[in-house]
C-alpha cells in the first residue's frame, strides 16, 4: 500500500516536471504574422449571460464583445467609427441617422446579416418584457425602419447627443430569437454573433472558450482562440500568471510595482499601463448638516492629500482626479479648483464656518456639537477601504472625527445609498465615452433611487446638463461640459480623488498589442504569435 502511494506520487511529480520543460525552450523567432496559438486570459468572475444587453457585469461583456458587433464602435483613439455599419450619416438637426450596412457579414451559423436584425434588436431592447438595463438609451427614438436589406434608419423625437454611440449596442440575430422568450433563449449560453471569435465551450465557473471566426468581415483573427479562465482569488491568479498558465491578466499596483520586477518575469511578460476609465470620489450627503455648507465640504477637500492616497493605495499608479473626466479625454477641463493639500486652508475654512476646538479634545465643534461623521464604502474593494483609512487620519489631524463603515454591496446600496442614510461615502464611477452627466448630477435625480445621491442641486448646472444632451456638435458641447466641471469644482458636492491606472500584463509571445487611449483590448483579433513561439 505504502509503496503504491509512493509510486503514484512519484508519477505525479515526474509528469509535472515534464510539462514544465516545454515552456522554457522558447527561442527568439521572426516576427511573421502567423496563424495559430490561443490566448489564455484570467478573469476574477464568471460571465453571467452572453446576450450582452441582458448582462451588466464586465465579465460577460468582455466575452460577448468578441462575439458580437454593434453598428458603430469606438476605435483605439475613442472616435466613433462604423462596425457593422460601413458608413453612417447624422442629419444636421440630429434627428435622423442613416446607417449603410456591410454586405459581406454572416452570422456564425452562416445566415447573412441584414438590416432586419437591426430593427429586431431595437424592438427587443425596447420591449417592456425584456429585462435589460439598456433601454433608457432608446427612449427618445421616434421610429426605426429599413428601406432595404442594407440600410437602417433611426429617427428621434428630439436631438440626443448620445444617439450615435448608443448604436454600439450588440446586434443580435433575428432568425434565432424572433418569437421566443429572450430570457430563456439558448443564445445566453451558446451565443451566435457576427464578431471575430465564435463561441466554442462554456464550463460554468471554470472557463469559456472561443475560436477564430474564419468568415469575419475584417479577416480571420490570427489567433486560433481565446480562453477565459475563471480564477476568483487574486493571489491564485497571480501564481498562475507567474507560472505561465495565463497569458493576460490585470495586476494590482503592488504586483505591478513590487512583484513583477524580476528578470524572469520581464522576459516573459510585457507590462502595460494606461489610465482606467474610472475615478474614485468622496461624496457628501448635502441634505445632512454640516455638509449643506460649501465651506465645510471645501475644508474637507483641502484636508485630503490626494497624492498621499495615490502613493499609499496605488503606489503612484494613478493621477489626481479634478472632475468627472480623466485628463486624457477630449472633455477634460483641468482649469478648475483642484484642492491641493492645504491643511491650513482647511482649518481656516472650518473656523469661518464656526468650528473650533474649544474643549481641547482634539475634535472641533460648533454650538457644542463636535464635527463627527461616518463614511460608508462597500466591502470587497480594498483600494476604497485603504483610501478611507488614509482620509480618516488626515481629517483627524484637522479635528474632524470620521468613522469608517464597510458594508456588503446589496445592503450598502439598498439601505444606505438609495435611502440617503449616510453622511458621506467613498465610491467610484466609470467614465463613459459620452460626457453626459445628467443622471449623476442633475437635481431631478435627487429623489429615491436616483443616482444623484449627493442630493446636489445647482440651477445653472441643471440647465447646462439638459442642454449638453441635445447638442450634437463636439466643440459646442465641450464648452458646456467645461463650464460643468468648473461648477462642480467650485461647489464641491464630492471630492474627486483619483483616476487609477489599469495595469495589464500580456505574455511576450503576443505581437500587435498596441496601448492606445482605449487601452489594449480593442484589437485582440489582430494579435498574433510567430509560429516558433506558439504554445497551444
Amino acid at each position: 500500500m505504502k509503496r503504491l502511494i509512493a509510486i503514484i506520487i512519484l508519477l505525479i511529480f515526474i509528469a509535472g516536471c515534464k510539462n514544465k520543460q516545454i515552456n522554457e525552450s522558447v527561442q527568439i523567432s521572426s516576427d511573421s504574422k502567423d496563424l495559430g496559438d490561443k490566448l489564455i486570459e484570467g478573469t476574477i468572475g464568471d460571465a453571467s449571460n452572453l446576450i450582452p444587453f441582458l448582462a451588466s457585469d464586465s465579465a460577460s461583456h468582455q466575452v460577448a464583445d468578441l462575439i458580437y458587433n454593434g453598428l458603430v464602435k469606438y476605435d483605439e483613439n475613442l472616435n466613433i467609427v462604423g462596425d457593422l455599419a460601413e458608413s453612417f450619416e447624422v442629419s444636421k438637426d440630429g434627428l435622423k441617422i442613416v446607417f449603410k450596412l456591410r454586405k459581406n457579414v454572416k452570422w456564425h451559423d452562416g445566415t447573412p446579416f441584414t438590416s432586419d436584425d437591426c430593427v429586431f434588436t431595437y424592438k427587443i431592447i425596447t420591449d417592456p418584457s425584456t429585462p435589460t438595463p439598456y433601454s433608457g438609451d432608446f427612449m427618445t427614438v421616434k421610429r426605426v425602419f429599413n428601406p432595404d436589406k442594407h440600410t437602417f434608419i433611426v429617427e428621434y423625437k428630439e436631438p440626443f447627443a448620445g444617439a450615435l454611440s448608443s448604436w454600439g449596442v450588440s446586434i443580435v440575430p433575428k432568425h434565432l430569437l424572433e418569437g421566443k422568450d429572450i430570457t430563456k433563449s439558448e443564445l445566453a449560453r451558446k451565443p451566435i454573433g457576427t464578431g471575430p471569435f465564435k463561441f466554442k465551450e462554456w464550463v460554468q465557473g471554470e472557463r469559456i472558450e472561443l475560436t477564430a471566426n474564419d468568415d469575419y468581415f475584417e479577416g480571420r483573427p490570427f489567433l486560433n482562440g481565446i480562453i477565459f479562465r475563471v480564477i476568483p482569488d487574486m493571489s491564485t491568479m497571480f501564481f498562475e500568471l507567474k507560472s505561465g498558465n495565463i497569458d493576460l491578466s490585470g495586476l494590482t499596483p503592488l504586483q505591478y510595482e513590487r512583484q513583477t520586477d524580476s528578470d524572469t518575469f520581464k522576459k516573459r511578460f510585457n507590462k502595460y499601463k494606461y489610465l482606467a476609465f474610472a475615478y474614485t470620489y468622496l461624496g457628501f450627503n448635502l441634505q445632512r448638516k454640516p455638509f449643506d455648507e460649501k465651506r465645510v465640504r471645501k475644508a474637507i477637500a483641502y484636508a485630503i492629500d490626494k497624492n498621499e492616497i495615490i502613493k499609499g493605495v496605488l503606489l503612484g499608479n494613478g493621477v489626481e482626479a479634478t472632475g468627472p473626466y480623466k485628463p486624457d479625454v477630449y472633455w477634460y477641463n483641468g482649469n478648475v479648483e483642484r484642492y491641493g493639500y492645504n491643511p491650513e486652508m482647511a482649518k481656516k475654512l472650518l473656523k469661518e464656518a464656526g468650528f473650533e476646538d474649544k474643549d481641547g479634545d482634539g475634535i472641533v465643534e460648533r454650538d457644542g456639537k463636535p464635527l463627527r461623521f461616518t463614511v460608508l464604502t462597500n466591502q470587497g474593494n480594498d483600494a476604497r477601504i485603504k483610501t478611507a483609512e488614509i482620509i480618516q487620519r488626515r481629517l483627524k489631524s484637522i479635528g474632524i472625527d470620521m468613522k469608517i463603515l464597510v458594508l456588503e454591496w446589496a445592503t450598502f446600496i439598498k439601505e444606505f445609498v438609495h435611502k440617503r442614510r449616510f453622511d458621506a461615502l467613498i465610491l467610484g464611477w466609470t467614465i463613459p465615452q459620452d460626457p453626459d452627466l445628467f443622471d449623476i448630477f442633475h437635481s431631478s435625480k435627487m429623489e429615491k433611487n436616483g443616482l444623484n445621491h449627493y442630493s446636489y442641486k445647482n440651477e445653472e448646472l441643471d440647465e447646462l446638463l439638459v442642454r449638453g444632451r441635445k447638442i450634437i456638435d463636439r466643440k459646442e458641447r465641450k464648452k458646456i461640459y467645461d463650464r460643468v466641471q468648473e461648477i462642480l469644482g467650485d461647489d464641491c458636492p464630492c471630492v474627486f480623488l483619483y483616476v487609477p491606472y489599469a495595469l495589464p500584463v500580456v505574455d511576450r509571445r503576443f505581437r500587435g498589442v498596441e496601448p492606445k487611449p482605449a487601452g489594449i483590448a480593442y484589437n485582440k483579433y489582430k494579435w498574433y504569435v510567430p509560429k516558433l513561439e506558439q504554445r497551444y
Binding site: 490561443k38 439598456y134 427612449m139 476568483p232 491564485t236 501564481f239 507560472s243 498558465n245 446589496a410 446600496i413
Partner: protein
C-alpha cells in the same frame, strides 16, 4: 422498528417545513433584491426599468404568496429559475456544480477514514509515550491553521518553488486532447494540493475521536474479561475493542452525508474550483432566492436523512440501543 421509522419520518417532514419557512423568510427579509446587481449605480437605469425587472421576477408580490408558489413548484420537483442575469434553471446550476464537490468531498472523506483509524489506534496504543505527544501536537497544529493560509503556503511550495504540481483548477488547458490515462493523471495532479488542505484538519480531529473511543472501549468490562480469560492482546484489540470503538464512527459518517454536497467558499475560491460553496456564496450575495432555497432544500434533506441513517446504523451495530 416500523413505528419508530414512521415517527422519525414524520418528524423529518416537520423539520423540513420548518427549515424552508425559516430560510425563505430570512432571505426575503434581508435588504437588497436580486435586481440590485443589475440595476445599481447604472446611469442608464430608470425607475420604470427597475419596476419592470421587479415584475419580471415576481418581486412585487408579498412573501407568503411567493412561498406558497415556491412550495407548489417544489412539489413537482421544480426548483424554479435563477434570478441572476443568466436566468437558468436552479436544478441545472446545482447539477453542474455537484459532481466536483461530491468528488472532492468523497475522496477527502475516504482519505480521512483510511488515515485516521490506524492513526487513532496508534495514538491510543502509544498513549503517554513521546510518539503520541508529537502526533497530538501536530494534529492540533493542523487543526488550528486557517485553511486559506495553509492552501496558499502549499500552492507556493508545490506550484511556484518546486514547480511539481499545478496551481489551481481541476484540469489542464489541453485536457480535451489527452488520452484517458493522461486525463486521470492530470486530474490527480490537480487534486493533490486541494485534498491535502481538505483532509488535514479532518484527519487531526477524527483520529483523536477514534483514539478516545478506543481508550473508552479498552476500559469496558468485556475487554477486561477477555484479558482475564487469557485472550492474546492482539486478539483483544482486534476482535473486541476495535469493533466497539468503531461504532461511533458510523454516527460520524452519517452526520457527514450532508457535508458531501456542501462546499467551502474559501477553499473553492483559492483553488479556483467551481463547486457548491461558490454557487451558494454568490447566490446569497446576489440575493438569488431560488438558488439559495434549492441548495438549502437539498442539504437539509440530506442532513435529515443522514441523521436517520446514523441512528439506524448505530442501532444495528449496537444491540444495546433500542428504538423507542
Amino acid at each position: 422498528m416500523g413505528r419508530y421509522l414512521l415517527k422519525r419520518i414524520w418528524g423529518m417532514v416537520i423539520s423540513f417545513f420548518g427549515i424552508t419557512i425559516i430560510s425563505f423568510f430570512i432571505i426575503n427579509l434581508a435588504p437588497g433584491s436580486p435586481t440590485d446587481l443589475q440595476t445599481d449605480l447604472n446611469p442608464r437605469i430608470t425607475p420604470e426599468i427597475i419596476e419592470k425587472l421587479r415584475k419580471h421576477y415576481d418581486l412585487d408580490k408579498p412573501v407568503h404568496v411567493r412561498y406558497i408558489k415556491w412550495l407548489k413548484n417544489l412539489s413537482t420537483l421544480d426548483f424554479g429559475t435563477s434570478l441572476s442575469p443568466d436566468g437558468r434553471k436552479v436544478i441545472d446550476k446545482i447539477k453542474e456544480r455537484l459532481p466536483v464537490t461530491v468528488l472532492i468531498n468523497l475522496l477527502a472523506m475516504i482519505i480521512i477514514i483510511i488515515v485516521s483509524i490506524p492513526l487513532g489506534l496508534y495514538i491510543s496504543i502509544n498513549k503517554g509515550k513521546w510518539k503520541e505527544r508529537v502526533i497530538t501536537v501536530l494534529s492540533f497544529l493542523f487543526y488550528s491553521i486557517p485553511s486559506f493560509w495553509l492552501a496558499i503556503l502549499l500552492i507556493l511550495l508545490f506550484g511556484i518553488y518546486f514547480h511539481i504540481l499545478p496551481i489551481s483548477g481541476l484540469k489542464s488547458i489541453n485536457y480535451a486532447s489527452m488520452n484517458s490515462f493522461e486525463k486521470i493523471l492530470d486530474l490527480a495532479r490537480h487534486l493533490v494540493t486541494p485534498l491535502i488542505v481538505a483532509t488535514l484538519g479532518g484527519i487531526a480531529s477524527f483520529s483523536r475521536y477514534v483514539a478516545s473511543n478506543f481508550d473508552e472501549a479498552l476500559k469496558q468490562d468485556y475487554v477486561t474479561l477477555a484479558r482475564i480469560k487469557g485472550v492474546p492482546e492482539g486478539v483483544v484489540i482486534r476482535k473486541h475493542a476495535l469493533r466497539n470503538a468503531l461504532i461511533p464512527v458510523i454516527t460520524i459518517l452519517g452526520l457527514s452525508v450532508p457535508g458531501l454536497i456542501g462546499g467551502s467558499v474559501i477553499f473553492e475560491t483559492i483553488f479556483a474550483i467551481p463547486g457548491m460553496g461558490q454557487l451558494f456564496f454568490q447566490s446569497v450575495m446576489g440575493r438569488d432566492y431560488p438558488v439559495i432555497m434549492g441548495i438549502l432544500v437539498l442539504s437539509s434533506v440530506l442532513t435529515l436523512l443522514g441523521n436517520l441513517l446514523a441512528d439506524i446504523g448505530y442501532g444495528l451495530a449496537d444491540p444495546r440501543i433500542r428504538y423507542r
